[in-house]
C-alpha cells in the first residue's frame, strides 16, 4: 500500500549547506494498516507526511502509494493523485474560513473529481457528530469540531491512505479521544490505511503498530 525506499530529504540552510532531515531506508504500510509515528518535535514527521503525500519531493528514493510511484509523477498528476487517493488532516487550520463545514467537505470532492456528492458529505459530517452544524463557518466551530470536519473532508473522496498530522494537538483529552476513535474506526471500516503522527502516548498506545521516526530514520541529529 505504502512503500518508501531509500528516501532522503534535506532543506537548504542560509549558509549554503543542507540540513538533512530524512534518510529512510525502508518503510512499508500494508492495505488498511494503521501506523502511528512518534518523534520529538522537529525530527521531520511533517516532512515525512509531505513526502508521502507528494506535497514535496524527496531528494532521492522511491515513494509508492497504492501501487503508484508518485515520485515519478509530475506536479499536476501528483495533485490529482493526492486528491483522489490520499486524505490529509493537518494539525490546525484545516478549514477554509470562507466556506461552511459542508462546503469544506464538498471542496475536497470538487478538487479531486470535479463533482460533488452532497449526501455523502452530509453523511460524513453526521458521522463525526456535526449533523446540526453543516452550514456553520469554521469561525463558528470549536477547534475540536473543526478537526472533525477536517476528518470528514479527508474521508470524502474514499481515499486509500489517510495522513493525520497531530490531529489532536489542540484538542482537550475528551475530544481528543473522539477524534482518535473516529479516525481509527472509519479507517478500519473503509479499509483505509492510516499514518497518524502524534506526540501523545495515550493516543499511541491505542494502536498496534507504533514507530519512532528516529528509529526509521538514519539521520543522526543532536537536538
Amino acid at each position: 500500500m505504502l512503500l518508501l525506499e531509500d528516501v532522503a530529504k534535506s532543506f537548504p540552510l542560509p549558509d549554503g549547506t543542507r540540513l538533512q532531515i530524512l534518510d529512510i531506508p525502508e518503510l512499508r504500510v500494508g492495505e488498511g494498516e494503521q501506523l502511528v509515528v512518534m518523534g520529538r518535535s522537529g525530527c521531520g514527521k511533517t516532512t515525512l507526511l509531505h513526502v508521502i503525500a507528494g506535497i514535496s519531493l524527496p531528494d532521492r528514493g522511491r515513494v509508492e502509494v497504492a501501487e503508484r510511484e508518485i515520485t515519478q509523477l509530475n506536479e499536476v498528476s501528483r495533485d490529482r493523485f493526492r486528491a483522489a487517493n490520499i486524505g490529509y488532516v493537518f494539525q490546525t487550520f484545516n478549514l477554509l474560513p470562507a466556506f461552511s463545514a459542508l462546503e469544506n467537505v464538498l471542496l475536497g470532492m470538487s478538487f479531486a473529481a470535479g463533482r460533488t456528492d452532497t449526501s455523502r458529505a452530509e453523511q460524513l459530517l453526521t458521522r463525526v457528530g456535526l449533523k446540526d452544524r453543516l452550514g456553520h463557518k469554521p469561525a463558528m466551530l470549536s477547534v475540536g469540531e473543526q478537526q472533525r470536519v477536517a476528518v470528514a473532508r479527508a474521508l470524502a473522496n474514499r481515499p486509500r491512505l489517510l495522513l493525520a498530522d497531530e490531529p489532536t494537538a489542540n484538542v482537550d483529552t475528551g475530544h481528543q479521544q473522539q477524534i482518535v476513535d473516529l479516525l481509527r474506526d472509519t479507517c478500519s471500516e473503509e479499509n483505509i490505511a492510516l499514518v497518524l503522527v502524534t506526540h501523545t502516548p495515550d493516543v499511541a498506545s491505542q494502536f498496534e503498530r507504533v514507530e519512532r521516526l528516529e528509529d526509521l530514520n538514519q539521520v543522526a541529529r543532536s537536538a
Binding site: 509531505h50 493526492r82 470562507a98
Partner: protein
C-alpha cells in the same frame, strides 16, 4: 464547486476590501459613462441645431463664421448679402429648387441674446428636429404684418423674464459687452417658444420688416455716433417711438420724424456699405423699400436632394454669395473641437480606471499573505497551481466586472438625475438606457484590465510553497 463560486466566496470573506476596490472601479466606469453620454448629448444637440434646412446662403467669407452666426448665434458679425439675391430664392431663378427660404437679419442683441430679424415661416415651415415642429410655450407666432412683433426663445424668456405682452428694445451689436450699441425701438412679445434644445432657445426672433425699419438697419444708413451723432437725440427718439409702438400696430404709420435715422453699423466690417439716404424708422409702418434692404443670410430648404447638391455649386461659383451645408460645417466643428476633447477625457478616465485597477491589484496582492494557508490547504486538497491561479484571476475579473457594471448603472443613474438640468440647458433628453457604443467596450476592457492586474497576485498564489506553508506554525 465552481471556480467562480470559490472566488466569489473569497471576495465576500473580505467584503470591505472587495467593496472598496469595486467602488473605485465603479467610479472610474461611471466617469467614462458620463464622458460618453455628455459628449453624445453635445454632439446630438450640435448636429440637431441646424435641422430643417440644408443650405445656408450668406456673404462670401468664412464658412464656419456663417454657420456659427446663423445656427449657433455665436461668432463675429458677418457681412450681408443684397436683398435681390434673397429674392432669387423666393421668386427668382433659384425658386424652383427651393422649398422654403428663410431670411435672417443679424446684428442686434437684447441683453446679450441675439435678435434675429426673420419671417414667421421660420417657425411655421421648418422643423427644429426630425418630426418636431416649433411650438409655443405661450402666445403665438409673430404675424407677417405685425412689423413690431417678436417671439422669444425659451431660455431667453426664462432668463430675462420676458412674457407675452412685454416689449423689448434690441440693442445694436451682437453682445452687450460691445458697449457701442444703441437701443432700438421696441418690439412686442407675442409668443414664447417651447424649448427646442437648439440654440434658438437662446435667441429672440422679430419680424424682419420691423427690423429693417430700425434705425441704422437700412442699407447704407449713417452712423449715429458719427461726427454729428448725439446720444441725447437718440434716447429722445427711443421714447417717442416707444409711445407710438403702444398704439395701433399695423396702422398706416406716417413718418413723423423726417430726419434721417441714425444707425450704428460701425462694428460691421463691411466697408462696402454705401452711405445713402435712409427713410424713417419706428414710426414708419411702410415697409422699407427693397433697394434699401439687406439680409445677412438665407436658410434654404430644397425641393429635392439632387437640386440640393447642385444649388450650392451654382451659388458658390457666382460672385455674390456662398452656400454652405450647416450639417457639414457642424460636423467639422464637432470633429475638430469636440472629438479631441472627448478623446482626451476618455483617455483621462481610462487612466482613472487603470489606477483603480492597480489599486485592485494591490488590494488582492495584500490579501495573499493572509491567504497563504488557505491556498496551501486547497493545494493539499488537490487543487492544482493552475486552479489556484484561476481562482485569483476570477476574483479580480469579478470585482472589475461587478464594479464596472455598478459604475455603468451609477453613471446612467447620475445622468438620469441630471437629466432635467441637461434638458433645460440643451433641450436634449437622455434616456436611462441610452448606451453609447463605446460603453460596450467598457466591460470587455475591464475584463482584460482585471486579467492583467490580477496576474501578479495570481502568480504569487500560483507560486505558493505548499510544504513550507503547511509546516510553518500557523
Amino acid at each position: 464547486m465552481s471556480l467562480l463560486r470559490i472566488a466569489w466566496r473569497s471576495l465576500v470573506e473580505r467584503r470591505l476590501s472587495s467593496f472598496l476596490t469595486g467602488l473605485s472601479i465603479a467610479l472610474g466606469a461611471a466617469l467614462v459613462v458620463a464622458v460618453l453620454v455628455i459628449f453624445s448629448v453635445i454632439e446630438r444637440s450640435f448636429s440637431q441645431a441646424a435641422h430643417g434646412y440644408s443650405i445656408i446662403v450668406g456673404a462670401k467669407g468664412g464658412r464656419t463664421e456663417l454657420v456659427l452666426n446663423t445656427v449657433f448665434h455665436l461668432g463675429r458679425p458677418i457681412e450681408n448679402i443684397p436683398w435681390s439675391f434673397y429674392k432669387e430664392f423666393s421668386e427668382g431663378r433659384f425658386s424652383r429648387a427651393v422649398k422654403v427660404a428663410i431670411p435672417y437679419c443679424l446684428g442686434d442683441n437684447y441683453k446679450g441674446y441675439r435678435v434675429v430679424g426673420t419671417t414667421p415661416e421660420l417657425f411655421s415651415e421648418l422643423e427644429y428636429a426630425p418630426g418636431r415642429k416649433y411650438e409655443f410655450h405661450d402666445g403665438r407666432n409673430f404675424a407677417t404684418d405685425g412689423f413690431y412683433e417678436g417671439v422669444v426663445g425659451y431660455l431667453v424668456a426664462r432668463r430675462t423674464g420676458l412674457k407675452v405682452g412685454d416689449t423689448f428694445a434690441p440693442t445694436h451689436g451682437i453682445t452687450t459687452e460691445e458697449g457701442q450699441g444703441h437701443t432700438h425701438d421696441e418690439f412686442r412679445v407675442v409668443g414664447i417658444l417651447a424649448p427646442t434644445g437648439t440654440p434658438n432657445d437662446r435667441a429672440l426672433f422679430v419680424n424682419m420688416e420691423g427690423f429693417f425699419l430700425l434705425e441704422g438697419h437700412a442699407k447704407g444708413s449713417p452712423q449715429p455716433q458719427g461726427p454729428d451723432g448725439s446720444e441725447a437725440e437718440e434716447s429722445d427718439e427711443a421714447e417717442t417711438r416707444a409711445e407710438s409702438n403702444d398704439g395701433q400696430a399695423g396702422s398706416a404709420g406716417v413718418s413723423n420724424e423726417s430726419n434721417a435715422a441714425v444707425g450704428d453699423h460701425q462694428n460691421e466690417t463691411s466697408a462696402a456699405d454705401a452711405h445713402s439716404g435712409h427713410q424713417g424708422h419706428t414710426h414708419n409702418r411702410e415697409p422699407l423699400p427693397e433697394d434699401q434692404r439687406e439680409v445677412t443670410c438665407v436658410l434654404v430648404r430644397v425641393t429635392d436632394p439632387i437640386l440640393g447638391t447642385h444649388l450650392p455649386n451654382v451659388i458658390n461659383e457666382g460672385p455674390v454669395a456662398q452656400a454652405v451645408s450647416p450639417l457639414r460645417v457642424t460636423q467639422e466643428l464637432i470633429n475638430t473641437i469636440f472629438q479631441p476633447i472627448r478623446w482626451l477625457l476618455l483617455v483621462l478616465t481610462t487612466l482613472v480606471i487603470i489606477v483603480a485597477g492597480v489599486g485592485m491589484m494591490v488590494a488582492i496582492y495584500n490579501t495573499m499573505s493572509e491567504r497563504r494557508r488557505e491556498i496551501a490547504v486547497m493545494r493539499a486538497l488537490g487543487a492544482s497551481r493552475r486552479t489556484i491561479l484561476m481562482i485569483v484571476l476570477c476574483e479580480s475579473v469579478m470585482l472589475a466586472v461587478l464594479g464596472g457594471a455598478a459604475g455603468v448603472l451609477l453613471g446612467h443613474g447620475l445622468i438620469r438625475v441630471a437629466n432635467p438640468f441637461v434638458v433645460a440647458m440643451t433641450g436634449v433628453s437622455i434616456g436611462l438606457l441610452e448606451f453609447d457604443i463605446l460603453e460596450g467596450l467598457l466591460i470587455p476592457g475591464l475584463v482584460i484590465l482585471a486579467a492583467v492586474v490580477g496576474y501578479l497576485p495570481a502568480m504569487s498564489a500560483y507560486r505558493t510553497d505548499v510544504a513550507r506553508v503547511l509546516s510553518a506554525a500557523p
